[in-house]
Structure formats: structure tokens, C-alpha cells
Subunit: 334 residues, 2 copies
DNA sequence: GAGTAAAATGTAAACGCTTACATAGCTTAA
DNA sequence: TTAAGCTATGTAAGCGTTTACATTTTACTC
């Protein structure tokens, strides 16, 4: 049977209020009394019950994360960033995975209510309306990479279009004109914007895009492999590939190498995300860098601010800049 | 202001007990009353307060995970496995990172008390005694890859020694006799066992191990690179390298390739873990496979059982078998 | 040594729910 | 008709804290 504050109070010969004060440093308790209480607590192996405390204070000291998926380094990096920031304020992290399904995200959001003080929601697949309809009204929320409808909510989005445009431009500067793209899922907001950046760059270079050179993937290595497989059968192969994320780029590379195609000499390739592994594969992957970890930190930062200043918190929409990092996979010359 | 059960009860003209019953299907409520309550709840945007419910039922419907770190795919895979299993029973996942520090793991364990119904602890760096002293007594706990002292606790451990031995044997069968090892941290239980497996295999082959061919790393790519750098300066280089995890193996490969060393022709290499990326790098990495995801699922399974059958739960110690998967990095011949 | 202000501690209500037990309203059977 | 037995709902205690407010103790001052 677990000891309660009452047991400690009795054992130490004080009231429960005093015990509570000791455990909250809320007001001064005479040193001697304090020690007596601490001793009693120790002997009884007492630890405050967080649930009761939460009920009383209306604070849970937890924040929730609703993620679309739990696969791969991207998510673990975000989690790491968020955890890193909130741990400094003794907050806890409750993670939930919506598996990208509408009803599950609804369920996740639902069960988070009353369990957390704030929410970080990442849901690049859900449209803004559905999202808004399900978002709790009374809880601070930070949107990560979601379709945002207006400025009524805090949101952090990556400059997907800008990053894609920059890296495709880089490819163009290398003289490539037949550039293929491995897209992400059609309903994913990241994919959409990356694709737009891609198109934009081509337009600016006055290149007419060949839709044969498009493949829609799902952000997995396998998708990258399939895309390449398809293009290898073309009479007129692309000379460069832009993969909408590093994972697919890596899949593409593996398929190219299996077919004895030299990278970057015969086909250049670039990715997006700069996941840790990108700099260790061969050839090292040219890609677009976003600091996922720091994105998590920032999201946590904003959320904590919203929680602590519920009255005068100004919502903000941040666009996280990206940076291309040139390595070997697209040719170093130039 | 958020609506409470009381508001709903008033609006529907019933007592709070009836409202509670509706939201718990605990006993039959006449259909008409039920609809009236549901309607009132909807209008007030009422959702039960989980904290209050938990206090009353002494159940949180959450389980906690204490992880040593949040870096890399290994952890996200475990999390994914656990989440996958517990979600089916509407449990939530509270994640906490101990950063491998003794006091932090203590703090993490401490704050989990009363917040979760059960705990999955992964802490390969902490010795059994310290761990045991800090583990909550009253809470079901499943140990993941920890030093286990006795059979009083549920535990899942990977057959690290067996896996390492098997893969080193494989290397030996290829004719290698100068096999180097990139170890993990000295106080890490996984590293220790993998190293033991390595030694065992060499002994069985009656090979005297050259301590020049040992490098202690920290499971990062960088460590793999450093190890190789060091060995390249040797007059008598190793012909094969066993890295204690895939990440270090990948780092090693990148360094070898930068120095123009052919893999596996000049130096063969093998890893441990079989992280997803291993099959997509070039050359594809020969490694030891453990299903991290399913380890998470199993841990969750055992924990849930312990929670639901607190009286007659038999603790169990599972050793998850490993399997070597031969790919290109150690030479396909044979 | 009385009076007073400040410091330390105690009392009890509240947080929002669940649930054992009590009660009221109906059926049913003798 | 009435007692008994159900069924649907209500009453109220309890879950373990926090905290405003009340009370007691201590420390000074004159």
C-alpha cells in the first residue's frame, strides 16, 4: 500500500498542510520540522501523488505530442528536441501516434484532453479544416508542419518550397536539364510544397518539365528504389534526381548502384532533410538541411510560453529556413 | 471555462452519477435519459477530466518509458513497438529520457510515480544495484536491456553475446584472423556482452586477440570513423572489423571509403542491430538482426499483463534471439 | 510581563470524478 | 391489494493533493 501525505503527517506529528508545504517549498517551514517530515517521508517511501496534485492545481506538467507516424529518425529527432526543452522545466512528454488516420487523430486529440497542459500536433496529411475542427479549443496548441488556415494558432513550418527550389537550382547550375523528382504522398503538405519549389526552379530556368520524370512515393527507401527502377527503363533517362526526402534518396542510390550507375557522374542525386546518415553514405548525399531537433525545441519553447502566459500570448507563425548542404552526390565541381 | 460533469448533469436534469454511468457504460441507463445527457454534453463540449478520473479509479491508463537517450532509429523503433501494442488498449505513452545519468534516471523514475500504471525501463549503462534501488517498488516494471540481478523482475534482453559470436564466427569462416572490434561504451551492458561474444568466437578459433585491434567508441558514426583512422596507421592492419552497432559500422565504412580501401576486398566489416539503413548503404552491411520493434511490442505485452493481473503475474526473463544477416560488406563468397 | 507583529502551523474546502449504498418507482405474483 | 423484487436514478463518501484562511506559537518592544 502506498503511503499518502496523511501517513507522513501522522508519523511526523504535523498536519498534512505542512507536509505539502515541505514538498512544494511553498512557504517556510522551520528546519527542524522539515527534517522530521522528510525523515518520515523517507521511511514510508512516500512520493507525492501526481494525479491528486494535478487535480488540485489544474496543471499536469505534461505536454502531448501527436505524431503522424513513428518511423525513422525524423520523428525521434523532433521528440528529442521537444523533450530536451521541456525537461528543463520538469514537464513530461506524452507521445501519441495517429497513424495518419483522421479518426485516430481525433481520438488522440480527444484523449489528450485533461491529460496535458499543451499540445504539439504534427499532421502534414490532414487538411486545415478537419484539423481545426478537432483541435481542442481550451488548450494551447502548436502546429508543426500542418496546413495552417489562419494566424489564430501557433505554428511552425519548414520552408519546404524554398529549400526545394534552392537545391534544384543547384542541380540546374550543374548543367542538368532532365531532372526527375521523387515526390512524397500527394496529400502531404511537405510533399506539396517541396514539389512547388521544384516546379518553381524549373520554370525560372525555362525548362519544360517532363511528367515522365515524376514518381509519387511515400517517404520510404523502397519508394526511392521503385522510382529509379522505373526511370532506368526510359530511353531518355534523367541526369539528376531530386528526392523529396533523404530516405527515398538513399533508396534511389542503392538501386542506382545495384545497376552499376555511377553517382554523380551518370546521374546526380539530391535529397531533403539532412538526416544524420546522409553524410555517411557513399556518395555523401547533397541535401537540404533543416534542424529537426531545433524545430522541436522551438515548438516546445512557444508552447511553454503559451502555457505560462495564457492571457497575453501572441500566436506566431514561424517559418524555419532551410539550407542546402552540398556534398558528393550531385557532383562537387562548380 | 471547461464544462464539468456537474454542468452536464444540471443541464440534463439528472445527477452526476448518471452522467458518469453514461460515460463509462458502467450500468444501464435508459435510452432516453442517455440521449439527453449526450446531447447536453455535446452542447457544453464536455469531455471527462482524465485526472479526476484517475484519482478516483487509481488508474492512469498510461505507461511510462525511461530511455537512456533519444538518438537514432533504435529508440524510435522501440517506442513505435510499445506504442503499437498499448494503443490497442487505449493506454498512453509517457516518454522520458535519462540522458544516461544516474541522478536523472532517478529523477525520471521518481516523477513517473503516480503518473503511470507501469514502466518500461531501458538503461544499459546503470548497474543492477543502482537500478534496483531506484526502481519503484509498487509499480509493474519491465526492464529492457538492463543488467538484471535476479529473476524478481520482468526483463527482456537481447542475446548480444550470441549474436556477436555468430557474426564473428562468420568472419572467421571467411578466413579472417586479424579481426578488429569497435566496442561500445565500457559500462554499457550491451557493449560488454557483444564484446564477450566476440572474444568467445576468437577463443574457439584459438586466435590470440591483438589488443591493438580494439577501439572503444560510443555508438556514434564518428566513433566508427575514429577507430578506422587509428587502424589505418598500423603496419599490420586488420582484415576485418566487427562494429558493436550499425551506426559505428557505417561511420567506419565512410572512413574506409574516403581512404580508398575496398570493402570487403581489403577489409571486411560487420555491424550489429540491423537498423533500416543498413540494407541501403553501399556495400550493404552484414549485421546482426534484432527486431527492435517487436521487442517493444513484447515488453508492452508483458507489462500490460502485469498491470492487469497484479496478483498472479509471473515475472519472466526473455532473451530475444538474434540472427545474422549476411549482405555484402563481409564478402559474399562461401 | 503584557501587547503586538510576524512566523509557523493547522483546518477545511475544493479539484472532478467513481461507486457503494440508498431510494423511488414499477412489475409481478399471490 | 400488497409485499416482494427489479430497475433506474440519486446521495454522498472518498481518491490525495493544494491553498485560502484561521489559529497558535514565537520573537520583540516597551
Amino acid at each position: 500500500m502506498k503511503a499518502t501525505i496523511k501517513d507522513v503527517a501522522e508519523k511526523a506529528g504535523v498536519s498534512i498542510a505542512t507536509v505539502s508545504r515541505v514538498f512544494n517549498n511553498s512557504s517556510v517551514v522551520v528546519e527542524e520540522t522539515k527534517q522530521r517530515i522528510l525523515l518520515a517521508a523517507e521511511e514510508l517511501r512516500y512520493a507525492p501523488n501526481h494525479v491528486a496534485r494535478s487535480l488540485s492545481t489544474r496543471k499536469t506538467e505534461s505536454i502531448g505530442m501527436v505524431l503522424p507516424d513513428l518511423h525513422g529518425e525524423f520523428f525521434s529527432e523532433v521528440i528529442r528536441g521537444v523533450d530536451e526543452r521541456i525537461q528543463t522545466e520538469n514537464y513530461h512528454l506524452v507521445v501519441s501516434c495517429s497513424h495518419n488516420k483522421k479518426n485516430e487523430i481525433q481520438a488522440a486529440l480527444q484523449t489528450m484532453r485533461g491529460r496535458v497542459d499543451g499540445l504539439i500536433v504534427m499532421s502534414p496529411h490532414i487538411d486545415a479544416k478537419t484539423l481545426n475542427a478537432n483541435l481542442p479549443f481550451s488548450l494551447p496548441v502548436v502546429l508543426l508542419n500542418c496546413s495552417v488556415e489562419d494566424s489564430s494558432r501557433d505554428a511552425i513550418t519548414i520552408d519546404n518550397a524554398g529549400g526545394a527550389r534552392a537545391i534544384v537550382k543547384h542541380l540546374l547550375q550543374h548543367g542538368h536539364t532532365r531532372i526527375a523528382i521523387i515526390k512524397g504522398p500527394d496529400n502531404n503538405i511537405d510533399s506539396i510544397h517541396r514539389y512547388q519549389g521544384f516546379q518553381r526552379a524549373l520554370e525560372e530556368a525555362k525548362i519544360i518539365h517532363d511528367t515522365d520524370l515524376e514518381f509519387t512515393g511515400d517517404f520510404t527507401e523502397e519508394a526511392g528504389r521503385k522510382a529509379v527502377k522505373q526511370w532506368l527503363m526510359l530511353k531518355n533517362r534523367p541526369t539528376a534526381i531530386f528526392a523529396s526526402n533523404d530516405t527515398m534518396a538513399i533508396g534511389a542510390i542503392s538501386m542506382l548502384q545495384e545497376n552499376g550507375i555511377l553517382i554523380p557522374d551518370e546521374i546526380a542525386i539530391a535529397g531533403f532533410d539532412d538526416i544524420p546518415i546522409s553524410r555517411y553514405i557513399h556518395p555523401k548525399l547533397t541535401t537540404v538541411q533543416i534542424s529537426i531537433n531545433s524545430m522541436g525545441i522551438q515548438a516546445a519553447e512557444i508552447l511553454l510560453h503559451a502555457i505560462h502566459n495564457s492571457e497575453n500570448h501572441q500566436t506566431q507563425q514561424k517559418i524555419v529556413p532551410t539550407q542546402i548542404v552540398v556534398r558528393e552526390s550531385c557532383g562537387k565541381h562548380l
